[in-house]
């Protein structure tokens, strides 16, 4: 049944979660009523008595040194309470990880404020005043003089011989070796990376003249197999350059924050992708103990990677609040969000690919350069190679890459970081190869796609790492069937009047989960089960969904379950960050382990009270009872006994392998009922990935260059389905995030001033409801991953690359291969290229 009025994809409503009561079933999440009535409080919705407002002074220059600063006139204004400058920031602290290793603070990493701005829009100082008008006017009264410094906004510019360096001492990060271990002493921490300079020769740049990505020396490289032999045997060799866009995350809620101090503790309200993990991040940035930080973050207005631990800017109101001795609200404007709110780095890619005549990739030579911004290196460059190696299973592959620093806003992981870029560089080449070899687009992907324990990346200690599982071929086949791929391909004519139709398919994958986190729950004496959730609530609903797996194991109806989330003072366990599609996998494992711990404790309590051995008992229907009938008790009774018994049963003693934060939370909750807390220690053979097959059809008007996406389907291989509606929201939502990269989002710069021109929504427009089909489709295989007890893998990242690449492939199906070699593809790209018969955009320049 089709839900739309124009959609032409038939869908049979899938039934998920066969054999389960809760897993795979739809339900109403506990946060929805507050959202729908406007009661849900996001950071900017809080108000504290005597609250001041803060405004930031942003650098107008892409790289400069503040030579002179005079704030006297501003400070003298009535209503101005405090001004915070970079010299008042606490020194960055080292990080002590949970396994006891030290990560040295990098003095050259990003700080909340700076006297040497490294990008236009970088915050220099902050003013707190009684209202925003006063704060903004005070900013205007500050006298500040800059010494402009050389800058680079284009990664190729800084690589050229004699090209400008984005930082005074260079353009790349260099990792020096870790000092040798000393016997008897703890293993030494690796030193923080330093900055070095990388320049290529004129000869190495020669290819750029012909629109091909130059390939000079790179610090990083790996390979497996014999690519030269592969190219020799290949029936077709393609060598293509492709450039992906820089795209801001643009969460609808900007990174506003409210902070105040009470009894030596700092209270921070902000949006974040992890309640549990943001606390230590704040403590580190403020250089205070974690016990002195309370984070309130019940609702977060989107993150997509940009709010992984909320972001360093949130310490500005915290420090200003301390200085002014009053609560401080820092509202971040849309433009400020563009500067400090993170973005996905553009990747310039070049791929030489050798295909056998049946389309199998026998050799792949991949080269990528990223536009990283001025601070810490993002993982997009190395990740792009690993994802490509998994998704297309090349017989032999070499990967080379370099992360270039530039004077553009700092990047961070954005949904499928590196994965989107790798897939988007690769997919148009596969589409082209299929056309050249006379192969069907689904067929060429079938012969290359990963299956089972598919290997990826280079050898590590003599063996290539591999995935836990992959059923992507099945998703591709089922998707092709549901999308009626063959019918669409066969349909003629492709052109009617000025409208040309094209169909595209893309594979996609990304990491789908981590392991080793903790769960925590209490069965209360009234028989209700309370799950403690340290997951951030950014809309994916994993904050609540994962606990359904625990409730299922315990045999408790969902109506009897409560979930506590969103406030670090409410005793939350050690939890993964909701980024990189970790959560569903990692936290269903932890929820499962915790529920199993509760089951074991219930059985032990029953055996103690009713006789027999724990293994004689079973747990179901809110009872623990003797197998085969006989004595038993309700969970409510067992919870009361747990409190009487104390010790391990009510949380006074907990397992030694728990994280110290989980232990502290358990101690605080002890005595309230039967307390279960467990670490996910389940074995896992392989690295967890999730996969998507994406299909789209576009209709291009060759007279105007405008195109519409007519239909879209994403078929997901994400393990067991936990909550179909929230899964569907992720599959299609992240697909559209990817589609934005195909149809319009990018940064545009004034290269003369190094100033960004695309600071607002309308200048780098995310897809609107009219940009996507009114009736989009998704489905999931619902095949459990064999390496995790609940079978569920993560989903956020994989749809992104497929969303973007399937649109690009549909466009080239409609228009041919000579239209674009970078994304996004806009109407003007299409028109000018159609006219010229070749791609007309500058092939390599950044930010066009």
């Amino acid at each position: 049944m089709s839900k739309g009025d124009t959609g032409s994809v038939e869908t049979t409503p899938r039934v998920y979660g066969a054999g389960h009561k809760l897993i795979g079933k739809n339900y109403v999440t506990a946060d929805l009523y507050a959202k729908v009535t406007g009661q849900a409080k996001y950071a900017e919705d809080f108000h504290a008595e005597g609250m001041l407002f803060c405004k930031l002074l942003l650098s107008p220059l892409p790289h400069a040194r503040v030579k002179h600063l005079d704030v006297r006139q501003a400070l003298a204004m009535p209503g101005v309470k405090a001004i915070l400058t970079a010299d008042e920031l606490p020194p960055p602290a080292d990080t002590l990880t949970d396994n006891g290793t030290v990560i040295r603070a990098n003095p050259k990493s990003e700080r909340a404020l700076t006297m040497e701005p490294l990008y236009q829009g970088e915050p220099i100082l902050a003013v707190a005043a009684v209202d925003e008008f006063t704060a903004a006017e005070a900013i205007e009264k500050i006298r500040i003089e800059f010494e402009p410094l050389p800058f680079a906004i284009d990664p190729l510019d800084t690589l050229r011989p004699g090209g400008p360096n984005p930082r005074t001492d260079g353009n790349i990060w260099v990792q020096s070796p870790t000092p040798p271990a000393v016997v008897g002493a703890p293993p030494p921490a690796p030193p923080p990376p330093t900055i070095g300079a990388l320049k290529w020769t004129e000869a190495e740049f020669a290819d750029a003249k012909y629109g091909r990505l130059p390939m000079g020396k790179t610090p990083d490289e790996w390979s497996f197999g014999d690519i030269e032999a592969g190219f020799k045997d290949a029936a077709l060799v393609l060598d293509e350059t492709f450039v992906t866009p820089d795209t801001s995350h643009q969460p609808l809620e900007t990174r506003s924050a409210l902070a105040y101090w009470q009894n030596g503790k700092v209270y921070v309200h902000t949006g974040t992708q992890s309640t549990a993990q943001t606390v230590p991040a704040i403590a580190r940035w403020l250089n205070i103990d974690v016990s002195k930080v309370v984070l309130v973050s019940e609702y977060t207005g989107g993150g997509f990677g940009s709010k992984v631990t909320a972001g360093v800017s949130l310490i500005i109101p915290a420090l200003l609040s301390k200085k002014a001795n009053a609560p401080v609200m820092m509202r971040i404007s849309r433009e400020e969000e563009t500067f400090i709110g993170r973005a996905r780095p553009s990747l310039l890619g070049r791929m030489k690919v050798g295909f056998s005549k049946d389309g199998r990739i026998i050799a792949l030579d991949m080269f990528v350069i990223s536009n990283n911004g001025p601070y810490d290196a993002n993982g997009d460059v190395p990740t792009s190679g690993r994802i490509v190696s998994l998704l297309y299973q090349p017989v032999a592959m070499r990967w080379r890459g370099v992360t270039m620093l530039t004077n553009t806003p700092p990047r961070s992981a954005q949904s499928a970081p590196g994965g989107l870029q790798g897939i988007v560089i690769m997919e148009p080449i596969i589409a082209k190869a299929a056309r050249k070899l006379g192969l069907d687009q689904v067929a060429i992907r079938r012969v290359n796609c990963p299956e089972g324990k598919a290997p990826f990346g280079p050898e590590v200690k003599g063996k290539r790492p591999y995935a836990t599982s992959a059923f992507l071929r099945e998703a591709l086949d089922r998707g092709a069937e549901q999308f009626k791929w063959s019918e669409r391909v066969a349909r003629t004519p492709k052109r009617i009047g000025t409208k040309v139709r094209g169909v595209g398919v893309s594979l996609s994958c990304y990491v789908g989960g981590t392991v080793g986190f903790d769960g925590l729950l209490v069965i209360k004496p009234d028989g209700r089960v309370n799950f403690q959730s340290g997951i951030g609530n950014l809309g994916t609903e994993s904050v609540i969904d994962v606990h359904r797996a625990g409730a299922e194991v315990l045999g408790v109806p969902w109506e009897k379950c409560d979930v506590t989330w969103g406030d670090s003072s409410k005793n939350l366990p050690f939890t993964c960050v909701s980024g990189g599609s970790q959560t569903t996998h990692a936290m269903t494992r932890a929820a499962y382990a915790t529920a199993m711990d509760a089951r074991q404790k219930l059985k032990e309590i029953a055996a103690k009270k009713l006789g027999g051995k724990p293994e004689n008992y079973d747990v179901a229907n809110e009872r623990v009872f003797r197998k085969g009938g006989g004595a038993g008790m309700t969970l409510a009774q067992a919870a009361k006994y747990a409190i009487q018994l104390g010790g391990i049963y009510d949380g006074h003693e907990v397992s030694a392998d728990l994280n110290r934060r989980t232990k502290a939370s358990a101690v605080a909750l002890a005595g309230q009922g039967l307390l279960a807390a467990a670490k996910d220690n389940y074995p896992r053979d392989g690295v967890t990935f999730s996969y998507i097959a994406s299909f789209s059809e576009v209709e291009v008007d060759v007279e105007t260059g405008k195109y519409n996406i007519v239909d879209f389907l994403a078929y997901a291989d994400v393990g067991s389905v936990i909550h179909p509606r929230s899964l569907g929201g992720q599959v299609l939502g992240r697909s559209i995030l990817g589609i934005g990269h195909a149809i319009g989002q990018k940064w545009v710069y004034d290269p003369h001033y190094g100033a960004m021109l695309s600071t607002r929504f309308y200048q780098s427009k995310p897809p609107t409801i009219l940009d996507v089909p009114v009736d989009m489709q998704w489905a999931a295989l619902d095949i459990p991953d064999p390496e995790t007890p609940v079978g569920a893998r993560g989903v956020g990242e994989p749809p992104v690359g497929g969303g973007c690449a399937s649109i690009l492939n549909a466009l080239s199906d409609a228009l041919g291969d000579e239209i674009f070699q970078r994304a996004p593809v806009n109407a003007d790209t299409i028109l000018t290229s159609l006219e010229a018969g070749r791609p007309m955009q500058h092939p390599l320049m950044a930010h066009i």
Partner: protein, 214 residues
């Protein structure tokens, strides 16, 4: 513009620039970084309003109640609702008429409250997300549609979408999905949950038709 130097060619130690000079120069080039971007369109307004002055007591009808607030003459309705009347359900996603998060109904018509001055709504009826459910807590059929379909992800855009849908469905109670999409196209969802939003709003339309039959 020969007086503008290419910063790339400047040798160290170069001439120094004040921020004002620079902004002036860069404005010539078409861009500026302004700390006041969340506040005003024009800095002349800024200079006219001495801090803390110029507030006037206004009475406005919000969600069926007469509410009084001290309002500056350049104050937007979104600001009054959120900061003076405690109605924080109306969100600010851009503050510049680009995203629709701040959509409220003024005399039944959807408006971006970030771009409406409060003093212009004195004689008009304002409805926000907080005023949509009936006083006994029964949700509006469109709100119920969201619950029924688990519409939206982070929901920061949700109040705006719901208000836009409520107004649109009054004029077109039985829309197709594409008609409804047109009706909601002034609202941006950055979680891009459009498909589920549309399904939830269609369910809301169905609920509304059901309710009006009773």
């Amino acid at each position: 513009m020969s007086d503008i130097e290419d910063p790339k060619t400047i040798e160290c130690p170069p001439n120094t620039l004040t921020r004002r000079d620079l902004i002036k120069r860069v404005i010539v080039g078409g861009v500026a970084v302004s700390s006041a971007s969340y506040l005003f369109r024009a800095s002349t307004l800024l200079r006219q309003s001495a801090p803390g002055t110029g507030e006037r007591l206004l009475t406005i009808n919000v969600n069926g109640q007469q509410r009084r607030a001290d309002v500056m003459k350049q104050e937007t309705l979104a600001w009054t609702l959120r900061h003076k009347l405690g109605l924080t359900g109306t969100k600010l996603g851009c503050d510049r008429a680009e995203c629709g998060s701040c959509t409220v109904l003024i005399d039944g018509v959807p408006h971006y409250s970030c771009s409406v001055l409060t003093h212009t709504v004195r004689d008009r009826k304002v409805l926000t997300i907080e005023g949509l459910a009936s006083s006994d807590g029964t949700l509006h059929p469109v709100q119920q549609g969201v619950i029924d379909e688990q519409g939206f992800q982070c929901a920061f855009c949700m109040p705006g979408f719901i208000m836009a849908a409520v107004a649109f469905l009054k004029t077109n109670p039985n829309p197709t999905r594409s008609e409804l999409a047109q009706g909601l196209s002034g609202n941006l969802c950055r979680c891009q949950d459009y498909d589920k939003i549309l399904t939830a709003m269609m369910r809301g339309a169905e609920n509304m038709r059901g309710a009006s039959r009773v």
